[in-house]
Symmetry: none
Subunit: 200 residues, 4 copies
DNA sequence: CATGAATGAGGCTTCATTCAT
DNA sequence: AATGAATGAAGCCTCATTCAT
């Protein structure tokens, strides 16, 4: 994964530090139990400096969610760009999402926790992005159906379901275990999602 | 679904009203943006009364999450109690979770949002319960592996993954759509989870 | 002056105490240098209590200015109600404004200081009221012109000018002197305003 | 009015620009709601530059009030210097104050708003100056009384009252009207102040 | 001199919780 | 048991001021 996909690494130094500090604390406590003070302190800057980079604490949240989703979308889209077969595309997309999670544990513990919070308020954009991400799955599955590679299923259900399967399984490991058996997760999910859990 | 499984219906009148009011507001805003005032008001009681039934706002959250998880566990466990075959058990469990979600939309929008928040603090119990629920899946899948009905997969991954698939697909419909096509969701998830998305 | 005209005396106990505390401090420092903390403390209540009675510190200011202007208008209007001759009316109005100032030194030191602050923002109403007060003078003077008792002058100029003369002269005494020679002020202003400063 | 009396025009370039920017903003918002940032920006300099010319925001206020009062005093004193008769002197003084207001609308809107704020703090000097200005009126009136041109009145009351009459009438026009009928104001004030409002 | 990023003291406001009635 | 006025700890944010460049 080149710098292009590194969360925050293309931001100004201080802004990146603030983002990283925030994510690190948010993955431990929740957004609401974290104070701006703490974030600034962890980033090694003054409290006022925070407000040179973000309009408010809420906007930081919005920015972080946005940022991660945009990068994830970029990353996954890039990874499937030159793949032709729907099945291969879906494999690649699964690989990519899991890799991405694996590269950014803190971020995704935070992400999974806070992504559900945004239904109303200013930040409808988050929802749009989450939808845009799931749309990647939807498009691949639709393509697979058209080419008779995949069965006819309810595309919305299965796309969001796949996203849920990957996210929750990843979180499960991130939250409850010290290891993150990327390969196992990858293989098990793919095996079941492509061929089902039934033997023979 | 008998009263036994109805959330809050076996509580004292006012406590039940407070729970229902809370869930209704929480599904709209998040826990943190909801005030005790609002909950009491919606329940039609005074603010002080709230504290006759709950030690604190946090304890209400804990109680609600707990309550829903316990009932879900009861409900699913009861539903599979007399089923013998692992595959039938898993089908039944999937049916039950989806039914349960369907009966309690507000609750599960809230549940999905807040369940991730609890890692530290007093409320480890929530985690235990969530784990206990996933353990139901784990046990069924283990049984299925033992009887050669199911393939060998990473059980933790696939159990939490199934939970994620069901939860996120359900939420997807609950959040983004006015309808909730229970039967479609059920069939699509089962078809993919049991047989995979690949045709032939 | 009956209770009817007493500033704040017809408010709830705590609200009145907060108003009185605020005015007392505002007359010493300015609004901006006074904290809500101080006001609450001087009123003998908790800081949070302040917000049970006023939406914000700004709204307190608005309320205080409003309140004083309304009462002044009431007081002056009542005092001239049964007077027929324009000259007598104007005398009575001058008497009343000076009496009112005299009864509420703190308030008017505060009033004169803050009344100019409100041009934009929510509180256009203040301006309307100040205008409404000056309109009392305008109407009397117009009447006096019509009945040939008064000369033809620019009514807006002379009405606001009279208000300024009374206000600034009163403030002068309130700010720079320990005494407030009500009678002297009254007589001197009237003598000059009615007959001019020129002898003979 | 030669440069001698132009506010700020004999200051260094940047200092003058800062003063003008400040007055312009202050006449719109109040001192307290204006930030140093805004002033610097409007003056077209950096925020740090502000502090090369003024020790603090407070000192700017002090300087502005001071500056305007000193110039006003100079201007009025100069204008009456060669006038002999008290009545003519007073007329000239009134002319001058009104001219001065007219030349510096923004400044006087600001001045009238902020002049009352200074009772304690470092800036007693402001009060002294305001007093010094009113003393000009006091001296003329005293002289007029001695020469029997003027009646015996309470000199402090009438001097501050005249200042108030001129200031508030001027502000009235500046704040509430797009025009400033200098001649009308001048004539009406003089007519009333010298001869009274009563006809015959 | 000029700048503007960095700072943190300080103030407003919210809201969970208490308690007298 | 029920209430809601009272409380004050806690947190977000502003902005005057500093200082390295």
């Amino acid at each position: 994964m080149s710098t292009k996909y590194e969360l925050f690494d293309d931001l100004e130094n201080k802004k990146a530090r603030l983002c990283k500090a925030a994510v690190s604390i948010f993955s431990d406590k929740s957004f609401n139990r974290t104070t701006v003070q703490e974030i600034a302190q962890k980033a090694g800057v003054g409290k006022g400096t925070f407000y040179n980079y973000f309009d408010s604490k809420e906007r930081l949240l919005s920015f972080l969610l946005d940022c991660g989703t945009v990068k994830l979308i970029e990353y996954v889209k890039d990874s499937i760009q030159e793949v032709m077969e729907p099945r291969d595309k879906l494999e690649k997309a699964i690989d990519s999402q899991l890799e991405y999670f694996n590269k950014n544990h803190d971020y995704f513990v935070f992400y999974l926790r806070e992504m559900w919070s945004y239904r109303q308020g200013l930040e409808e954009q988050i929802f749009k992005l989450k939808e845009e991400y799931i749309t990647i799955f939807e498009n691949i599955i639709k393509e697979g159906e058209d080419s008779k590679a995949f069965k006819n299923v309810d595309i919305e259900t299965i796309s969001s379901g796949l996203f849920g399967m990957l996210s929750v399984a990843s979180s499960h490991w991130a939250l409850f275990s010290s290891e993150f058996p990327l390969e196992n997760i990858n293989q098990s999910v793919k095996e079941v999602f492509f061929n089902g859990i039934l033997r023979g």
